[in-house]
Every structure is written in structure tokens, then in C-alpha cells.
Point group: C2
Chain length 559, copies 2
């Protein structure tokens, strides 16, 4: 008997449809759940093939907003003068598209043809002078402005909570302006997508007459659908951050347009001239001003030196201990480094089809299901440096009881790393939700946060929780919780999701390691940072944006 | 005939004397100019032995201020209640001592029994609660507060420009509170001096029951007479910063007492929760509040792995090119790395007595006087890592035409590195001034800044100018200008000194790489940063310190 396979969506969403707004990534690209995933979900959630016969709430209808533009027409005319009529839109589709990020809540709403928030006008500035004019005008007339890069926000960061203007930076402002090979920097417009940026750096000899090829060093899971400006204003972190640094570490200088003026910070590699405005602007999430240009560190691309490794540890404790030793060993850092907790490890092994004789071998050697932990990664940089990092990682992992599994798992992970988000729509078509929350921890507090957050998630019946750490520092790491659940209830999801945030806070984790704050986490900011630090951010907000037009309405908990 | 040697001061300054205020470092320690220095100075400045027969303006008299305490007596009583009567002083000596840093201008004034500025009261808080009470009281009564750590400021950063309180943090608040080996951090009080801090970390197994010995990684030239808090609030940089990072990079979390409240930032290794207040406080130079506790990264101490190297380059251009290649080579950074320009190299070779056959050999090989450049440094960290750094440095230096001189010069430099400042008083006793100014540069602008600033200094007749770069980054480095001149005129010195700052700015260097701003550089801040960025700093100032009591009177150009 032929096994049943759900009819996963195989067609690009209709143009202008709700689905075309919330579908992740390339409209024509899909990554369906594997047979392993499908069987596992059915088993864990007590579902049957019958539950996967009819897709629900696909959002195939055309976007209709039924909400008039309330901004006075005279303003539109003025904006058209500034940026050209073709760069000002007010059709329903554009208003919804540029108001939406990629949270589960938004996807659930859009599937039901609901768009609670939309800007009045969508403006596509051609250059920084356009941005300056728009910001000055909006400041004068108290019109809210929301910046939109690539729209991969997972915290309502681009939501036009008070209408006004969606300012789309990726339409025109998406080029590398210069590569300075002496300084090893690239000057980039904020709306450039990751792949185009990386491609330009790899092609630097041809495009910018450099002697070397370069890499940006920043590869978040959303790489293909995120913008350079978004990386910086939300404090993102790439999957190779342990070596290359977080987005904030890449920034040499920036130019911002704010209601309080336009300025560009200096390009010095370091200074002692007081608190650094260059740092103050990082992570400001559109609340202080609009990033219009940024000069970033770049790195020589030497992919031929990359070394791949993976290990199996007998326990989570051993994997954590080894990771800490790697980070504190003073031999340089691996680029990619990831450890998966027992549930993620075991589900991963099932999903990616480990041969049963390998499993038997592992179990015989003491690597037991729901105890063992997978570690994978890469070492990059100069050849001997990378070789030594790999050698030291291997030595440490073995000392902590791990066995080497070679480079296969790391290579496989690398090939598919940007595709995971594509599974969300397929599963949601049948009422299964995947979502993630993440936090940073010190080494001393890692186990407590992992245990308490996991306990909370697992206390809900029939809920998967897979956790990994993937961004490493000598002083700690992050924890990334991936949870799957079956629910049709937006309210139930929302309450559960908020409960996880509460538990992260209560157990001592940070509110966010690299997803930013947005409106989703904003309500916890004051309790998390304390009133004194929150008051500092509010003082900066008042300075840059005295009339409260920059991304107003709950962003970062500022208003 | 026996050669004349000046009678350099060999006795500790009299207790309570002006000299005891301005003398650098240990009162009983001296490093006299070598015979080489002495001969070179006579020759370059057209001086004779006769000029070195009588010391002038030694400042051996007792400090007398002849200026009454203007603060109302009722305040003093309240302060005594807070911190204990023994921790409140108003004698002339204390008022002058804790008002003085180590600028040439201050030394010249103190030699003439002049102290333009002094606080009314000197307070030595016992703990952070004391600081909280003092700050709250001063805020209530609008009394200025000036923080004093170890007093090695070279920019009038501790000068009580408006009287009030000198708050001395090094008297009691000078301990390591905790070493967290899991997180690899130490929590320290701000008044701890460098050597005591480093000693505690080296002794961590005995003192804190750790498995490893640790190092702080921060070794500025002022190490022995600087405080941990000072490193951070002035954005200092140690001589091994290329590997360990600048002071700002070492800070994990901080606790500040400000008029707007007391707060402690989180210990997470990284977060994406908006602009980081932890960063905003770094470099605030006492203008926002008082640093009362700091948690710093520490590093495993592995001195047995240190590798020393030195090279001679045929030219400054070759030395710079090699340095850039080292920084951009992706094999990890050397810890110490220094390149000296031709004048510094040649004077150094003369001073430290290079045998003439070595000089002849070097010249024959094309390493000519006033062209050749010395490079020295160390590689630290894990054994194979350090070995590879050394190997790559050697490869690159050779490719750029250098020859290896072995490790001797680097070891010798290391042994004497903290002693150079001791020569200042000896020379000043005979009217010869040594001073330094420093800047940071991108690689692209390095040569311009070096050339233009040097041209300015050398345009003054009979003036030495020795320049090195000593803090390296992939995007650039610093330039450190050491100049010697003969003058008795404070006004002439001041004008010349200010002229150098102007030239640094005009040629595109930063106002400061690691000396901070203080009151000396404050007047240039607005032009350097631009009005928009200066307005951000002023907005923060208003927020933290609405009544302007924290280090008021020109600090950082804020008021």
C-alpha cells in the first residue's frame, strides 16, 4: 500500500494574495516536511493522515483592506514631489505587504484576511536625500514613519502601529557604494539583501579592482531575505558569529537621518572621544532615525580553508562543558559552532535518517537517546589557524567524552541552513505551528534557563521543544528554543508564547540574543532593563525624535 | 677626563611638597636619562653640560594653597556623617594632590607652586553606598563632584574646575570582589590599581579557588599607577590590546551611581535589546555618574607560551604595509605589536646602544638611518596559536623586506615599558620637556596624518619627534607622537601643544585613541564629532545629571 503524503503547496501564491504577503522567501521555492517530519508530527501530536487531507486558511484571496487612507491628500502630493509619483503607493496590497513581518501571529491573521495595521502610504526613497526630505516633512507635520527593509522581522518591528508612512529601503537603496581594500571595509546602502551584498564582496576584484575576494561574515538564517540595514538596527547575529562577530561588531561607521538632524560617524577603528554615538545607534530599531549608509568590516574570503567537524557527546552537560572550554581556550574561535540538546539531537537523527547500525553502535558506546547531543561546526580563516582551531576543538571534545562523526553533518547543515523557514507554511496549512524564541545566557546560568524554559514548554501536552546554542563567546552563549504545537487558536498560541518569554525572563535569560525587541518583546523591556536604563533609552528617544514620529506605538517599549 | 653627568634627583620628594604631587609613580623610584639620551639632547638642543648644572623649579616646598574652603561647614558635617570624619579632608596638600593629573602643563605649574584648581573637600568613600549618599546629597545641594582614581590623567580629567568634592575611589574601593571562573569574569571595584588587580588574577587559584591562573589583558604604560575604573571611563587601551582588546572591549557589565539613579547592567555576553546602556557609560569620564563596580572579561594566563619577535624594515611604508597584512591575515592577532617610524627607530638604536658592526651590517643590507623602521611584539594565547601567529608575522615581514632581529628587543622593551614616564621630571629639572599626543587613523589615512603632524612638530627648530603605532585593528591603527623640546615658557609650550592637536584634526586623525578627552581636548569635540553627535552626548548629560554636578567645567566639552 502506498503511503499517504499530504498535498503540500507546490504553486507560488497568487499575485496580490494574502499568502503572497506571509509566505517566506522566494514565492516559487518550497521545502516540504520530509517523510520523517511528517510521521513524527503525526505520532507526537496524535494526528492521522485524515488531518492532512484538507489545507485550511490558505490566504489565497486577494488582499482587501477596506480601510481608507486617512492622511490628508495634500501630504501625498508633497511626497510625490519629493520622491517621484511612482515611488508613492497607497494600494491595499502594498499597504499590507510593507506592514507585515514573519511572526506566527501575523501569519495566522493574514490567513484569515486580517491586517490590523497598515500604513497610509508606502514610500520608496531613491537615496538618502529623499529620506532626509521625507523625515523632515514628517517631523514638521507629525506623521509617523516606519522603516521596512526586507520584512523578516519576527517581533512586529515593521508594524505601522499608528498608520503614516512605510518607508521601504530595499527598493532603491540597495547597492554597495564602495569597497576600501586598504581599510578592509565596504560602504553599503541599508536596503541591500544579504546574497547580493555577499556576491558583490566575492566579486570585489572584478567590481572594485581589489586584490582579494571578500566575505561579509554575517549569515543569519534569514540571510536570503534580510537586509544589511536590518542586521544592524536590530542587532542581528549570523551563524558564523563566533568567529566574525555579531552585526554590531561589524559596524565601523553609520549615517543616520533623524528628526534631530543627519550625521555620519567617523571611520576610525577605535577612539577615546567619549561615549560612542556609533554604538548608541546600533539596535535603535527605527526609533531614533533611519540608517541610510553603513561602513562595515569585511573579511578576506578563503573558503578553501574551511574545515568541517561534528561530534556526538554523551550528554548536554558534556557538550556545554566542551563548548565553554573551546571558547576560553585562547586559540581563536570556530566560525560556525552549534550544540543541540537531547530532544533536538534525537529528532534530528530521526529526521535526517541515521542508519540503524550507526544508532546501535552509538548506543552501545553509551550515547543514549534523549541524553546524547550533537555538535557541529566549521573553522575558517588562514589555513594553519583554521587547522589549529579544528585540532583544538577535536582534542577538547574528546576529553569531554565525545566521538567525532567527521564533517558530513556540518556540510549537510550548511547546504540546507536557509531553507528551514520554508516548512512553516506547509505545516500551518494543517494547523501545526513552528515558532522560535531565543535568549542569551552566561555559562553559569545556562542550565537553569534551559531547564526552566524547557519545563514550561514541555508542560503543554504534545509540544515539541528542540534547543540549541549557536553563538558563542568566552562569557556565555545563546539558547534557541524551537517549539512545535498543534493549535488553531490564536489566543492560545499567544498566551503560550508570552508564557515562554515570561519564563525566559524569570529564569535569568536575556529578552533577546539576536531577534531584537520590536513590539512583541517591548512590554518586558522596562522590567528587564530596570527603570533607570529604560529612562536612558527614553531620553535618547526624546532627543532624536521629540515629536514621536519614528516607529511609534510600542516599539522597544519606548512609548 | 671623567665625563660630566648631571646630578639627577635621587631622593624621594619631601612629604607634603609640590614635587610629591607631580612626581610620577613610586616616590622612591627613578629612571634617569641614559648617557645616550643625555648626549643626544645636548646635541639636538645645542645645550652644554653647563645647562645641566643647576636644577630649577623643583617644587620642593610644602604645598600651600592660600585659598579657603568655600563650601558651607554644614555640608562637611553631613559628609562626615556619611563616610566617617577620617574620610573627609580639607588640608591644602590633599586638595591639591587629588586635583592633579600628569599633564606637562600641570607639572610646570606645580613646579612654580601654582595650583589653579582645587576641590573644597576630598572624600574617600568606603563603598558604593557611600558614593550613593554623596552623589544624592551633592545633587540635592548642587555641589560639584570630581572622581579621582589613580591620577594618571593627561588631559585635566580630574581637575575640580568648579571646586566642590574630589571623590577618591582608590583609597578604599580597591578590591576584586569575585572571580567567576565559569563565566571567565572578575568583578572589581573601580579604585583598584593595575598591578594589584593583575596579581589577584594570577593568584586566583589561591584566592578564589579557580582551576586556572588569569590575566586582565590590559597593560597601558601607566599600568602601575592607573585604576581599573579609570581604564574604562576614559576608554584606555593597553599595550597588548591588539589581542586582548581595548578597555571598552573588556567590560561585561557595570554599576553606576548617577544623579538620575543607580543601576547595574546585565552580565550577558551579547544581547539584542536595543542600544546598550553598558556601552553608553563607557568613556563617560565622570560626567554621567560614578562607576562603582565593574565585571570584566579575564583571560587564562599562559606566559609560558609567549613568543617574542622583532624585525627591521627598510622603510616606514614597508613597516605599515606589513602591519596591515598582519591585521588582515585572519590568523589571529599578535598581543603586543609596535612599529617605530625612522626618527624613533634611529634614536632608539642610539639610545639603547646598537653595536657599530650591527649598524654597519644593517646599512650594507640597505637598512639606512632615518629610513629603517623597527618592529617588535609578542604572540600570546594557546601554544600552537601563538606559534602560528609568530610564524605568519615572520612570513609577512620578510615578504615586505624586513629582517628578523630575534626576540631580544621585544624582551628588553617589555622589561622597561612602565619606566619611561620617570624620565620626565629629570629632564624638566633642566628645562627639557617630553610630552605625547596620540590619535587613531584608518590605514588609508595613516601616512597623511603621520606626515602632516610630524611636519608641524619638526617645523619648530630643535624639536624631536618620535612616532610609533602600537594598537592594531584590521581597519587601522593609532599613531603616538612623542616630542621633546627645550622651553621654559608655559605659554609657548601650550601654544605648540594646541597646534599639534589642531594639526591632528586637520589631517583627519581622531582627537584621541586612548588618552580620553578631559578638559584638554574638550574644546575640539564639537568640531570633531559635529553638532549632531555632540548634541547626543549633551542630551545624555542632561538626563543623567540635570543639575550639572558631575565633573562640570569643560570636561569632554559638554558644558
Amino acid at each position: 500500500m502506498k503511503r499517504f503524503t499530504p498535498e503540500w503547496t507546490e504553486a507560488a501564491p497568487p499575485k496580490g494574495s494574502w499568502r503572497s504577503v506571509f509566505k517566506y522567501g522566494n514565492p516559487s521555492e518550497f521545502k516540504h516536511p520530509s517523510r520523517g517530519w511528517y510521521e513524527m508530527i503525526k505520532q507526537d501530536f496524535s494526528m492521522t493522515d485524515a488531518d492532512f487531507r484538507t489545507r485550511r486558511d490558505e490566504g489565497l484571496e486577494q488582499v482587501r483592506l477596506n480601510r481608507p487612507v486617512t492622511l490628508e491628500p495634500r501630504h501625498r502630493a508633497r511626497f510625490e514631489d519629493m520622491v517621484g509619483a511612482q515611488n508613492v503607493q497607497s494600494d491595499d496590497y502594498s499597504r499590507v505587504r510593507y506592514a507585515s513581518g514573519k511572526t506566527t501571529e501575523e501569519m495566522l491573521e493574514l490567513r484569515h484576511a486580517v491586517a490590523e495595521y497598515a500604513a497610509d502610504l508606502v514610500i520608496h526613497p531613491r537615496n538618502k536625500q529623499d529620506v532626509q526630505q521625507v523625515v523632515a516633512y514628517c517631523h514638521e507635520h507629525a506623521i509617523p514613519i516606519y522603516a521596512f527593509g526586507a520584512g523578516s522581522s519576527v517581533n512586529f518591528g515593521v508594524r505601522p502601529a499608528q498608520g503614516g508612512i512605510s518607508l521601504v529601503l530595499s527598493t532603491h537603496m540597495n547597492r554597495v557604494l564602495a569597497v576600501n581594500e586598504l581599510n578592509q571595509t565596504a560602504t553599503v546602502q541599508p536596503g541591500m539583501y544579504g546574497p547580493a551584498y555577499e556576491e558583490a564582496l566575492r566579486m570585489a576584484p572584478e567590481l572594485f579592482h581589489t586584490a582579494h575576494r571578500y566575505t561579509c561574515g554575517h549569515f543569519p538564517q534569514s540571510f536570503e531575505y534580510s537586509s544589511v540595514g536590518g542586521w544592524i538596527v536590530t542587532l542581528g547575529s549570523g551563524q558564523a558569529s563566533s568567529y566574525y562577530g555579531d552585526a554590531c561588531d561589524l559596524v565601523i561607521s553609520q549615517e543616520y537621518v533623524t528628526p534631530a538632524g543627519t550625521f555620519r560617524t567617523h571611520d576610525y577603528p577605535a577612539t577615546a572621544t567619549g561615549p560612542k554615538v556609533n554604538d548608541i545607534m546600533k539596535g535603535s530599531e527605527g526609533c531614533f532615525g533611519i540608517l541610510v549608509e553603513v561602513t562595515l568590516k569585511i573579511y578576506r574570503a578563503m573558503p578553501e580553508n574551511t574545515r568541517y567537524f561534528s561530534f556526538m557527546f554523551p550528554s548536554w552537560e558534556a557538550a556545554v562543558d566542551a563548548s565553554r572550554e573551546v571558547c576560553q581556550g585562547e586559540f581563536g574561535m570556530p566560525a560556525v559552532f552549534r550544540i543541540s540538546d537531547p530532544e533536538e539531537t534525537d529528532r534530528g537523527l530521526k529526521l535526517y535518517g541515521m542508519p540503524s547500525f550507526v544508532d546501535a553502535f552509538l548506543q552501545k558506546r553509551g550515547f543514549r537517546p534523549m541524553e546524547r547531543c550533537l555538535c557541529l561546526g566549521t573553522a575558517e580563516g588562514q589555513r594553519d589557524f583554521a587547522r589549529n582551531v579544528q585540532r583544538q576543538v577535536r582534542r577538547i571534545c574528546r576529553e569531554k567524552g565525545a566521538i567525532s562523526l567527521g564533517g558530513y553533518a556540518a556540510r549537510k547543515w550548511e547546504r540546507t541552513r536557509y531553507k528551514e523557514p520554508y516548512m512553516r507554511e506547509d505545516l500551518m496549512d494543517y494547523g501545526v505551528l513552528i515558532d522560535t524564541l531565543e535568549t542569551s545566557v552566561t555559562w553559569a546560568n545556562l542550565h537553569r534557563v534551559h531547564r526552566e524554559v524547557r519545563d514550561y514548554i514541555k508542560a503543554r501536552p504534545q509540544t515539541m521543544c528542540m534547543t540549541h546554542a549557536s553563538h558563542f563567546y568566552p562569557q556565555g552563549t545563546n539558547l534557541y528554543f524551537v517549539f512545535l504545537m498543534k493549535t488553531d487558536g490564536l489566543d492560545e498560541f499567544r498566551a503560550f508564547h508570552r508564557g515562554i518569554i515570561e519564563r525566559i525572563c524569570a529564569s535569568g535569560g536575556s529578552l533577546s540574543h539576536h531577534h531584537g525587541v520590536g513590539r512583541m518583546i517591548g512590554p518586558w523591556m522596562e522590567a528587564h532593563l530596570g527603570p533607570e536604563q529604560m529612562a536612558v533609552l527614553r531620553a535618547l528617544k526624546r532627543h532624536f525624535d521629540p515629536r514621536g514620529i519614528m516607529n511609534p506605538g510600542g516599539q522597544m517599549g519606548l512609548d
